[in-house]
Amino acid sequence: MRPLLRLVGWSAALAVVLVPASRRSGPLPALGPLLDPVHGVWNAAYSAELPESSSATVPGLGDSVHVVYDDRRVPHVFASTSSDAYRALGYVVARDRLFQMETQTRATAGTLSEVAGEALVEIDVEVRRLGLAEAAKRDFEMLDRDDPQLAEALQAYADGVNAFIGDLSPGDKPFEYHLLGADPAPWAPVHTFYLLKRMGWTLAFAPVELLKERVAARVGPQAADALFPADAPIREPIVPHRGARWVGAHVPPPVFPDPGEVSSASGFPRPESPSPVLGSNSWAVAASRSASGNPILAGDPHLSLTLPSTWYEAHLVVTGEIDVYGVTLPGVPGIVIGFNRDVAWTFTNTGADVLDYYRERLDDPDAPSRYLLDGEWTPLTMRVEHFRGRDGAVIRSDTVRSTHRGPVVDVDGEAMSLRWTVLEGQNELRSLMDAAKARTVDEWLDAMSAWHAPAQNGLVAGRDGGIAVQSAGYFPLRPPGARGDSVQDGTTRASDWLGRTARFPVAKNPSQGYLASANQQPYDPDAEPDYLGADWPEPWRALTINELLRYRASHSAAELEAYQTHPTSIRARTFRASFLTVVDQMAEQGRVAPKVAEAAGMLEEWDGGYDPANERAVLFETAMEALEDGLWDELAVPGDDRRTATPREDILWLLLGQPNSPWWDDRRTPATEDRDAVVAEALTAALDELRREHGPEDGGGWAWRNFGQHNIHHLLRLPPLSRLRLSTASGPGLLNPMSGTGTHGASWRMVVELGDQMSARGTYPGGQSGNPASRGYDDRLTHWVAGELEDLRFPRTEAELRAAGLVRAKLVLTPPRP
């Protein structure tokens, strides 16, 4: 009997161990495949570095393609045809960034729950309601008819990605797939369009009308218009016009609604989320303003910083056809920002208002099937979406409804439809492919005429000496009198867009000899009064770079590189002066408290810098926060330390010139405050808070390195795979900007001098490899944190790179044997 019992006991024990070994247990994947030293997560170690020499077979190749990786792990793709080049690019990008490609595709398609489980299904629901993937599919279906050459390029790229996936043994899959217990999905050509739609969502989803409605509910529509104006009060437009202008304007006082009229939804709208710094810088100097006599272009798009990084560097060479270097988005067969032998280009986000909301009347609030349009009930288009879990079973269904304008969404309990250029036909990829082949500035501008969304300020410099900037994109043409910064009436077709505007903001070879773009309002409204958008990004970066470029006769590439991390800003100079002026005036009247004078003295010592060792920048920033807290109490949400919205700082500048404006009264106190009282209180509060929480002012606790920190999260926000608390010389309003969470910043810094030989430097926060165990995962971070760029290799041939001793690895891709 005992042997039998022993057998039963051991068998039971084996079964108990086999369950977690072979099946997922909660968040843990099956342990057997995970821990396997040959085929499991350990495999990430074996593929961490590129083999010196390797080869692979890629179906569809017309000829062999040589991919040479340089000392910075950048692949230089030498191919015979463009189709082969895109096929090879798909292969090499997948080799380094496969997980990123799939994750970002799924995030747009709303299928994250299929790999990450039910926890992410709400994100999927939100995305599918916007209809990004549906729009991508529509655009893609038109491609065979409209642009077969592009369709072929997308297919070639997909073939390359899938050839890499096909070569993977189960153990070779990237690190994150092991953690999730998932396998890579095949790549489809339409996935590229998903990624472009996602970029549109990131850069062109700014519903200013909803923001203004919420603010109007608190302080009245006139005040809302003044706090979020269509025209920036501080102007330094992209299209040059009379230099920098600071245009004062009266800010009408708040008008509070009758409490009886305030519903809980509109009266106390949800507080704003912390606003990231999403913006970008670009500037170019013409030959006349360049120290070397060669045009120079500098660009640094600011985006959410992630690991792996948003961008991937690559160089594509097809003799006689393509020779382009730059950064691509993993999943997109082309260089987005970069240069060829004749032109260099970069982008900043236009931030134009390309999204309108329409208040709809539906027949049934709970299960609507029709909407009222010109007096008739019109059927809604309905689409049922199914969401699947890891095992493929449907875990949620959702009905997405659309009017003729676009999807219907719930906004604070109201049904609104939205029309958005990002959801309409696009061919940005055609623009990028043609731009890569441009020989002159004019050819590059022509290439960008097909650009649709998101609207971008494309800055280009040519070896012929020309420079130009063009805000390319589809700008809605609204009915006369209509503007996109208020919610439109959805019950009439009279509210519908009429088409697209014919004119792009553009400037070419200006007499000032330079161009600069930092997301500011493209036109000066005095020169071009048409509505293009509202609530433009704050003007500080634009002012700073224009000042740097304006007041020196000529600039070298090294100087332009240094400007990208210039340590001070006009914002700091402006508001520091405001603080000190107010305190001086109070001192003259003998009403300065000692602590206010002490804080002002410290600000006076401050050089305006944000280097990590600086011990005064934090006082300024804390005082600015306290100042805004005292000023914008009207927008504070009761019971919450956040506000419905925070107006731009140039509105704060306007109010600093209106010391008795009712806005200065802090209604949370019994007294009636004016500007001076709020400024004094802000300085006192800042000093007290810093001493209380960070010790004495010269004890090291106030060093900016403790506050100015960038946090670069892994796509799955896993701390061991992230790089957090990176001290950088960055801050609000600087050309090297940082938001409160430190999760956004310069995603690719590049400076190109267009001489007889192109000379380029660049870097980005991360590395080429998506493998967290690789040195190439984050090897550029040191340079990025220090504000240094690296030399970019731009060889004409493989031999040129080899002769310079810069070859790190080589991959030969060949067609399958017949």
Partner: protein, 131 residues
């Protein structure tokens, strides 16, 4: 010792070719071998029972593979990352978890196989007596 060495070699080779399922399979072979030897030679130490032998073989087999892996890439870095992601474990603990898992799976496989051998060899004399 023979069972242990053969078991470890079987685990390593089996994992290389077929993956983690080699653990219970090779563990079972090692356990069965050791169980049969125990039946034949009662003087063999009980500490080297089928389960313990198989567990040691599993652990040794995977340890050899991990050790060999250090030549091919930054295995310690992967341990650090994976351990951090899966519960904030230090890298050394992730190594330990991996080897513990190998020992458990191979050991339980070996224990079951050893028990089966014991049952079979107990039954065989009984059936012969019945003849």
């Amino acid at each position: 010792m023979t069972a242990l060495l053969l078991g470890a070699a079987g685990v390593a080779a089996g994992t290389w070719v077929g993956g983690w399922v080699a653990l219970p399979v090779a563990g079972a072979f090692a356990g069965a071998w050791q169980g049969w030897r125990l039946r034949r030679n009662a003087s063999t130490s009980r500490l080297r029972g089928p389960a313990a032998t198989a567990a040691l073989a599993g652990t040794a087999g995977w340890a050899v593979l991990l050790l060999a892996g250090t030549v091919r890439g930054p295995v310690a870095e992967v341990a650090h990352l994976a351990g951090g992601v899966l519960g904030g474990l230090p890298g050394a603990a992730f190594f330990a978890v991996t080897l513990l898992f190998a020992g458990l799976l191979a050991g339980t496989g070996g224990g079951a196989a050893g028990a089966l051998v014991q049952l079979a060899t107990n039954a065989a004399p009984a059936s012969r007596q019945g003849e």
